[in-house]
Structures are given as C-alpha cells and as structure tokens.
C-alpha cells in the first residue's frame, strides 16, 4: 500500500505538508495524489472516531449484528438484494460472508424496539429473505483497530541514554 494511504489510515488529520515532510516529497505532489485517491474512490472520506459512551447527551443508540439468509437471484446473485438491504439508513455496515448465513449487517436504532421493528417490518418481509438472526451489542471494546478506553499514560521514563 502507498505510504500516503498508510499514514492517512492511521491519522486522517495528517496534512499534505506533514506527509510531504515525512516522505520527502513536494506538498503539491502529495495533494495531487490524495485528490486522485479521493476521485478514484480509494479514499472515501474522513471522520473522527468518537467514543459515544463518554458523551452524556449523545442519546443512547442501540446496535445489532444481524445475520441474514437469502436466496440468490438468477444472474444477479446477492448483489441486488444486498443493495436493497444496505440502502436502508438503519444499516450502517453490510458484508457478504461465508458460513451458515449470507449477509452480515450492522444495524443502528434509537432503541431495542426500533431495531426489532426494522427487522420485522422492513427486513424480514423482503422477497428472497429466508431468515434472520439478531444479536444486540452490549459493549464495545475495540472498533476498527481502536481500543475504546482512555489514552494511557506514558510509561517510559522521560530521559535515558
């Protein structure tokens, strides 16, 4: 992977200037490369990772992992039905998986009822859906490589040979 992407994947805030200094290239070239990645859809966006458990008025959101069994369509396979499913705003992630089930969804709602309602009223009745299994998330420990806890204190001594 290009080092520009490696840097940005770790720190989306890294500026073209900083990246240029780290890779010993011209800032303009870095800017151009990033633009290109954005245009090609390699870089899809930038966002902050927020630990919502620490925010009082964030409003509690409920998340569930939902396994979905579907009958693939002739010529289209899973694509069409997956598109119908991931287009719902409640669905924050959607994966095709191997094993007993076909799709794995992450669904978010304001409470248990709204997620349950989404499953029973929107998802389950869809054509080609043979069954679902819903698992509500109880606690987040780590997400996308980030452990959700306070920054740890520096454990090194401040000066050494």
């Amino acid at each position: 992977m290009d080092e520009i992407l490696e840097i940005l994947e770790k720190d989306g805030c890294a500026t073209a200037q900083d990246i240029a200094k780290m890779l010993k290239k011209k800032p303009e070239n870095i800017k151009q490369a990033i633009k290109k990645y954005e245009k090609e859809g390699v870089i899809l966006g930038y966002k902050a990772m927020i630990n919502k458990e620490l925010i009082k008025d964030a409003g509690s959101r409920v998340r569930a992992l939902i396994e979905v069994n579907i009958t693939p369509q002739k010529d289209l396979g899973f694509e069409k039905i997956a598109e119908r499913i991931y287009s719902f705003p409640e669905v924050t992630s959607c994966y095709l998986i191997s094993g007993t089930y076909d799709l794995l969804l992450i669904v978010e709602g304001k409470d248990l009822h709204s997620v349950a309602g989404f499953v029973s009223e929107k998802l389950a009745p869809l054509e080609n859906i043979r069954g679902t299994a819903t698992h509500f998330l109880l606690k987040k420990y780590k997400e996308d490589g980030v452990v959700l806890k306070h920054r740890e204190e520096n454990k090194r001594i401040a000066i050494s040979y």
């Binding site: 080092e3 490696e6 840097i7 720190d11 890294a14 900083d18 200094k21 780290m22 890779l23 010993k24 454990k155 090194r156 001594i157 401040a158 000066i159 050494s160 040979y161």
Partner: protein, 385 residues
Amino acid sequence: MKNIISTKVKNMQPSGIRAFFDLVLGMKEVISLGVGEPDFVTPWQIREAGIYSLEQGYTSYTSNKGLYKLRLGLNRFLKSEYGVEYCPDEEMLITVGVSEGLDLALRALLNPGDKILIPTPCYVSYGPMTELAGGEPVYIDTSKDGFKLKPGVLEKHIDKKVKGIILNYPANPTGVSYTRKELEEIKKILLKHGLICIVDEVYADLTYDFEHTCFASLKGAKNNTVYLNGFSKSYAMTGWRVGFACGPKEIIAAMTKIHQYSIMCVPITSQMAACEALQAGRRSVEEMKREYKRRREYIIGELNRIGLVCSKPQGAFYAFATLKKTGMSSMEFCQKLLKEQKVAIVPGTAFGENTKDYIRISYASSLDNLKEAISRIETFLKNKK
C-alpha cells in the same frame, strides 16, 4: 567508615549530566525527545507469549547459555538474514541485554593495562565498562570525520597494548552507520593487527538507506568478532532485558564462565517472549521501521529548517544536531530549553569529548510530539535572538 568504596569504583567518572537527568525526571508535562528506547509497546503477540509462559508455570532457571530453542531460533535468523552461522551450543550466549554482553566480553578479554579503542561520540557505558574490566579506553574522536571512523585514523591509534575495538553501528547517539565497503576497510586494519572487534549492532534492524552488514559476515572477520545484539530496539523490548552474544568458541566459553556466576541466566519469561519475537515479530519490526523512517525525514527536515543543522542519520532513532549557529553550549541549551519550553533533550557532552556543540534528539516519539517539540524549540530559538 573511611575507604569503604573500592578505589576502582571511586575513580570512575560520575556522569556529568546526571543532575540534568534528575531535573527532567522531577518535572511534569515535559515533552521528551531524550529517550533512548522505542515509544512502541512490545507487540502484543510477544507480550502474550510471556504471559502464557507464566500461566504454564515456566518459572525456573534455564541453562546458563539460555534456552536452547532461543539460541536455535537465533542461529536460523542470523543465517537467513546475514548468512552468518553460529553454533547454538558453543558459539552463543543469551545475555541480559547488550549491556551484559559487553561487560562479559570486556571482562573475558582484558588483562590489566590492555587498551580498547572506542570511537566517540559513543554510548555512555563503553568507557566505564572497559575501565571496570581493568582495561584502558582509548577514545578516537570522529567529530571531524562526520562521526565515522576512518581507516587511517583507526590505524594511527593502534599500538602493542591495543587488544581490540568497540564498534557500534547504527550508532547511538549519532545514527551513523557503515556500508559493507566501509566496514571491509575497517576489518582489513583490525585483522592486520590481530585485534578483536566487539561489535554492538543493537540498532541493526533500524537501518534505512542501505542493507545492514553484520560485521561477522565480512570475509575472515568471524574469528576476531564478538557480535552483540538484542531484542530491545528491534522489537521494542527494552524492559525485558534480552540480548545475545555470538563469537569464537573460546571467547563465548570464557564469557559464559563469568555469566554463570554473576547472572546464572536471563529470566525465563523474557526468553520465552524473545522466542515468540523471532517467530512472529518480524512483521512488527518492518512496520515500526517504516514509521521511524518517516519520522526521520520529518525531524531532519524540520531541525535543519529551524537552524539546528544535522546530516541525515542512516540508522537508529537519533539525530545529532549542532548548536554552532546558536552560540550556546549543549548543556546550557538543554537546561534553558527545559526550563523555558519544557522540552527534554540529551546534551551531546553525555557521549564523549568534542561534543559540547551537539545535542542528541530522539525521534522515538509520536509525530504529534515531534511537531509540538519542534514548535517549542523554534519559539525558544526566536526568543534567544
């Protein structure tokens, strides 16, 4: 209680910058570019192997030489990485970091009055360890040669009393390293005079611009080389204290003799973790190296921009910058910078003669820290004008 301390120890020079270190350690919220160890935590799979070994009840002594599987792992690693083969039974010893390896080598080799050549600036322990072992350190100032030992300069320092040299590359504090060709030149002279090369290659995995050459891999050098390395820098394992010494059978046997009485063996937990490092840690080494390399580009560019001139180090994680433009001595600079901007840096004078115009900046620190430190140093320099 007069004369309670031995004359030898009493005569050891206390480090001139101990007081400065205490000052740093007593201060809060200091941004430190003064640290001689990685800022990464030991990769999890290595830590986990240490924990697992404890759970399994591995809490005993090991063989004096160290766990056989660790020596075997090292034998394979050195063969594949450098094409050097050391027999795990007779030519290898697991030590408490490179520090112990160095101590053992010096004690095993030196008779009173024997001289050891030490290119400076150098890591702080080389001189004092030589003296403790009964030897006499002969320092070779490399400050005029870009901190590289030149073959001609080396040869000038050799006389009948010289037994060997301590060579460290990539070097702490300068980051200087040597190409194979340069090492060949040094080797030729050492072999010509029958000298032993005690080589500290603990930063070998952090070589950025060319392939690291293991000194023992040079043709004909192995019989005159005591090769020291460890897990501290490559795998971010400083606190585990695991190093290793490889060399001719006779020297390793002598070193093992001392080691068995003074240390017995390296803690088994650390040795178990080190085995895992060799098995699964190489990917982490590569990742950390890429990160250091990026920081190197960043910090060297920035230091030169703000007037702290330094050339690009080829390895380790240090920049050795000159203060000549500032008109301050390194101690003055470091003390004032600490007081005024709360940035900690090690004065060059810690590392030998002719270094009062230099500071050692460690870039084993996050980019955020490096950026903040540079901005504070810049403010500091502007205020001094």
